[in-house]
Symmetry: C3
Subunit: 169 residues, 3 copies
């Protein structure tokens, strides 16, 4: 099929895996979206995959949480190579909640040079291109009424549900 | 096809149906995304499908409008069961437009326990996990120049176009 | 396949092409998503495709940049006709960065009347329905640390990568 729908799905799942890995602090999932010789170019970091994961291990715990929301997803294929563009909005929050260095949202485009090796697509090089950054320091509101809340632990509703469903199989 | 692309599309359409139903105040469309014995766990509500729809019937008219924007969409299949994670940003607005209880945006992850029955996928249980809430009370701008505007009535450009196209078939 | 997955992909790619064209100031890409007799109805503009592109040529350079982020994407097919609904959040930025007329985000639903002609889908008429507009004038933050940055020139990381990959084929 010229649309290569199954391969698009595999590549889309790579991108959502990256976001889930960062947001749940599951950094092995982040590592797995790149080839072992993969490179990441980000604001404040440029270098090899494993160094990028080590960088995330240092900076993410400073925050209370993140949510990497992806929008437009486009892939152009060139044989065993592909170029992906994924629009993203990354929301960051931390304590105290009026500190703009810990409470901000950035608009980013993930530009991915992807490669297929033995039938599997992974990122060979990524450029996270900044578009805009907005402070959320004056906007944060309290959580209010009780209800489900996301977290980086096994109490997260997704992590708990996946564990439950897997155990029942 | 191991990617189960057609089933992914059915599940994605369930999620956009939910959003369209809430945003256009078409609550029968919301009811239909859950199985009759479905359960929803939300901020301020936890219970059976029909009670959730009754809850929405009470709280949504207090607002002038909502826009439930979905981003990352991920499904893991386990036979007749699936686990979905859909990132969302829900924008709410109301009168007066500087009231933060009626003008705010929340970041939510819809965690869905889905079940296939007789070939059809529906939600068996949902957890809407809150991630962040931002006040929009100081940010609201007037509508400005004329042009198409969304609404909850048959004047909405989508509702009007769908009626026109269906009538011409 | 009743889900018409390949056609959905073509239509989704039309929408991301539109966004990429506007955001990178590649207005021929914008023109191509409409049929030659296509019509666009937008805030402050309503008329023929080519007049809409001329309108964009005048108004976009006033800004330093835009990011048209699309979310929920839904298509209902009626033979050779389709009705699309695509939720979008359009972020605009400009100089000076505290001017709310140049620094704002709007929530929009693209309502598309699509037509298939000789096997190809294009937009016959679009209504960009406004939902909300928020000022970003008080929120803008400086770019901070070095790293990849988006632009409207051939230095943009996507434009540069696509040129590089195409040259190597």
């Amino acid at each position: 099929m010229s649309e290569r729908l199954a391969e698009r799905q595999q590549i889309y799942d790579l991108i959502t895996s990256y976001c889930r890995g960062v947001d749940r602090l599951d950094l092995e999932a982040v590592r797995d979206v790149y080839w072992p010789d993969g490179v990441d170019n980000h604001t404040g970091f440029s270098g090899a995959r494993d160094d990028y994961v080590a960088f995330l291990e240092r900076v993410l715990p400073v925050l209370d949480g993140t949510m990497h929301m992806i929008c437009n997803h486009r892939v152009d294929f060139f044989g065993e190579t592909a170029v992906g563009e994924t629009y993203a909005q990354a929301v960051h929050w931390g304590t105290p909640d009026d500190d703009p260095r810990k409470n901000f949202t950035s608009g980013v485009r993930y530009i991915d040079h992807l490669e297929r090796r033995a039938g599997t697509w992974r990122i060979k090089e990524r450029w996270a291109a900044r578009e805009w950054t907005h402070s959320d320091a004056a906007l944060r509101m309290p959580k209010g009424a009780p209800g489900p809340v996301g977290s980086r632990t096994e109490d997260d509703p997704l992590t708990a549900l996946l564990a439950r469903v897997r155990a029942s199989q």
